[in-house]
C-alpha cells in the first residue's frame, strides 16, 4: 500500500513540472530515511585492524534535511616487537544538508551539509620504547573515556534505486578536532574522525538507505 502511494505521488510530480502555477513549498517532513555505511560493513570482516558500524538517518523539511549518524569503531594494531595498540569508542554526528536537485522527480539528492560530531573513546597501548640515549623501557599506557569533538563539511548523493531503497555516498571534510586532556598518551585514532594527529581528514561513507514515508509527498514547487 505504501509503495503504491509513493509511486502515485511521483507520477503527480511529473505533471506538476509542466505547470506554471507557483506552489508554496511545504516544510512538513514526508519521510524518514535510515541506513547504514556499507564500507564499514564490508571492511569489518576483511580488515583485521578494524571493527565498526555506522547508522545514518535523515528527515526532510522541503529541500533541507536534518541528519543524524551514530557509529562505533574499534582499531587493533600490532607493531612487531614495538607496540600493541587498541582503541574502541562510539561517536555521533548531527547536522543539516541542503539538496540542490530541486526539480528531480524522484527527489534524488545532491547535497552540501554541515555536521557537528562527538566521540568518546578508550585506547590502550603496550609499548617497548628503545631510545638511543635513554635506553629501553616497557610501558603500558591508556586513555580512558576521552571526549573529542569536531566539525564536518559534507557533500554527496542520495539516489532512489528501487521502491523504498536508496543508495548514497557522503564525503566528509573533518576539521577543528578538539580532544580532552591526555597527559600520558597522545591519542592516535579518534572513532569517527580518524588519525588524531591530522588537522583535517577526509572521510567517506557509501550508504544503503530505506525511506519510510510518513505522509503524502507534496508536488514539487514550480520555480519561475
Amino acid at each position: 500500500m505504501t509503495l503504491c502511494f509513493v509511486s502515485r505521488a511521483d507520477g503527480q510530480d511529473d505533471d506538476k513540472d509542466k505547470d506554471t502555477v507557483k506552489i508554496k513549498p511545504s516544510y512538513m517532513p514526508t519521510g524518514v530515511r535510515v541506513g547504514t555505511d556499507l564500507i564499514s560493513f564490508v571492511r569489518t570482516p576483511i580488515d583485521d585492524t578494524f571493527n565498526g558500524w555506522e547508522f545514518n538517518a535523515d528527515v526532510d523539511f522541503y529541500r533541507y534535511f536534518l541528519a543524524i549518524d551514530y557509529g562505533h569503531w574499534e582499531r587493533n594494531f600490532h607493531s612487531e616487537g614495538q607496540a600493541d595498540y587498541s582503541n574502541t569508542g562510539n561517536y555521533w554526528r548531527i547536522g543539516a544538508d541542503v539538496n540542490f536537485l530541486k526539480k528531480d522527480p524522484d527527489r534524488n539528492m545532491f547535497f552540501l551539509g554541515l555536521r557537528y560530531a562527538r566521540s568518546t573513546f578508550t585506547e590502550r597501548m603496550t609499548v617497548r620504547s628503545d631510545d638511543p640515549v635513554w635506553g629501553t623501557l616497557d610501558q603500558f599506557v591508556a586513555n580512558q573515556n576521552v571526549p573529542a569533538g569536531w566539525v564536518e563539511l559534507t557533500t554527496g548523493l542520495r539516489v532512489r534505486i528501487w521502491r523504498i531503497f536508496w543508495l548514497g555516498y557522503t564525503a566528509r571534510l573533518k576539521f577543528a578536532l578538539k580532544m580532552g586532556d591526555t597527559p600520558v598518551m597522545l591519542p592516535s585514532d579518534v572513532p569517527g574522525y580518524g588519525r588524531a594527529d591530522k588537522d583535517s581528514y577526509w572521510g567517506f561513507n557509501y550508504q544503503l538507505f530505506i525511506r519510510i514515508p510518513v505522509r503524502k509527498t507534496p508536488p514539487l514547487p514550480t520555480l519561475k
Partner: protein, 275 residues
C-alpha cells in the same frame, strides 16, 4: 547504469584517500638551544662535556659551537644537563671564561601510536626551565620540532673589560704581562695574529709588556674611561669602558691605530698594531 558508475568512481576515490603516515622524523625529542650574550649577539662556546643523569655524556666529542640539540628523556618529565667548557666568542686567544652551568628542563612527554610499520613516537610539549644557573634564559618555542630549531636561548652577561688587539702581521709571543696587575698574565708561546687583553677596570690606564720569542720587548699603554652602572637587569652593576686611546709616549709599537674606542662583547677590533 550511469548512477552505478558514479558510485564506483567515488568508492575508488575514497579508498585512495586512506593514507598511512611515513616513519620519518617521528620524534621531536631534541631541544634546540643557542648560546647568546645579553645585549649582544650569538655566543660561541667550547663544550668539553654535556652530561645528564641517566644518560651520562651527551656529546660524542668536544666541540666549538653556537648551538646544540639536547636530548630530552622520553620516560620522564624532567631532564637536567650540566655544561662544561668555556666561552670562546672570538677567534683571538684571551682570558678564559669558564662555562660550568646547569640547566633543568621540565616538559610534557607523551607516547603516541603511529602505525604498525612505525610503532610509537614520543611527543614533547610544554618545555619550561624550572631552574638554571645561566645568567638568563628565554624560551622561544616550548614545543621541540623535527628537524630541530631554536627553542631556548641561554644567555651570559657580557664581559666589559677585554680589549681586542689585532696585529697587522703574525708575531711569535712568549709572554704578555700587565704592569698594573704586577705579574705575567699570559704565557703564549705561540704565533698570534690577534689577542684579547684585560683592561684593569679599577684604573683608567693599563700597560701591557710583550716579550717576543727573540726576547725583544714591546710596551702598549692604553687609557680609557670607566663607567659603572646597571645596564642589564640580570647582570647587576657592571663597569663599562669607552674612549680607549693609545698613550703614545709609553707605547713603543711601530704603529697603533684605534679602530673602536669602546669594549664590545662580541669583541670588535679595538686596536690595530704593527708589531
Amino acid at each position: 547504469m550511469k548512477r552505478l558508475s558514479w558510485f564506483f568512481l567515488f568508492s575508488i576515490v575514497a579508498v585512495s584517500c586512506l593514507d598511512q603516515p611515513d616513519c620519518y622524523q617521528l620524534n621531536n625529542n631534541y631541544l634546540g638551544v643557542v648560546f647568546k650574550i645579553i645585549g649582544g649577539g650569538t655566543d660561541r662556546v667550547y663544550l668539553s662535556s654535556v652530561q645528564s643523569p641517566g644518560a651520562g655524556e651527551v656529546l660524542e666529542k668536544p666541540l666549538v659551537t653556537t648551538e646544540i640539540g639536547l636530548p630530552l628523556n622520553p620516560y620522564a618529565s624532567e631532564t637536567s644537563f650540566l655544561f662544561s667548557g668555556y666561552y670562546a666568542p672570538a677567534d683571538a686567544p684571551g682570558p678564559e671564561l669558564l662555562l660550568e652551568k646547569a640547566l633543568n628542563l621540565s616538559y610534557l612527554a607523551r607516547v603516541q601510536f603511529v602505525s604498525e610499520d612505525c610503532g610509537e613516537r614520543h611527543v614533547f610539549t610544554d618545555v619550561a626551565v624550572p631552574s638554571t644557573d645561566f645568567d638568563s634564559v628565554r624560551i622561544l618555542n616550548s614545543v621541540p620540532t623535527n628537524p630541530t630549531t631554536t627553542n631556548l636561548e641561554l644567555f651570559r652577561c657580557p664581559r666589559t673589560n677585554l680589549v681586542y688587539v689585532d696585529f697587522l702581521s703574525d708575531v711569535i709571543v712568549k709572554t704578555i704581562s700587565v704592569r698594573e696587575l704586577s705579574g705575567t698574565l699570559f704565557t703564549v708561546n705561540d704565533t698570534i695574529s690577534s689577542i684579547l687583553l684585560p683592561l684593569v677596570q679599577e684604573r683608567d690606564t693599563t700597560t701591557f709588556d710583550f716579550v717576543y720569542a727573540n726576547e725583544a720587548t714591546r710596551t702598549l699603554m692604553v687609557s680609557y674611561r670607566t663607567t659603572t652602572r646597571q645596564r642589564f637587569e640580570f647582570c647587576g652593576e657592571q663597569t663599562f669602558i669607552d674612549r680607549i686611546t693609545n698613550v703614545a709616549g709609553e707605547t713603543n709599537f711601530a704603529t697603533v691605530t684605534v679602530k673602536e674606542d669602546s669594549i664590545y662583547d662580541l669583541p670588535r677590533i679595538n686596536l690595530e698594531i704593527t708589531p
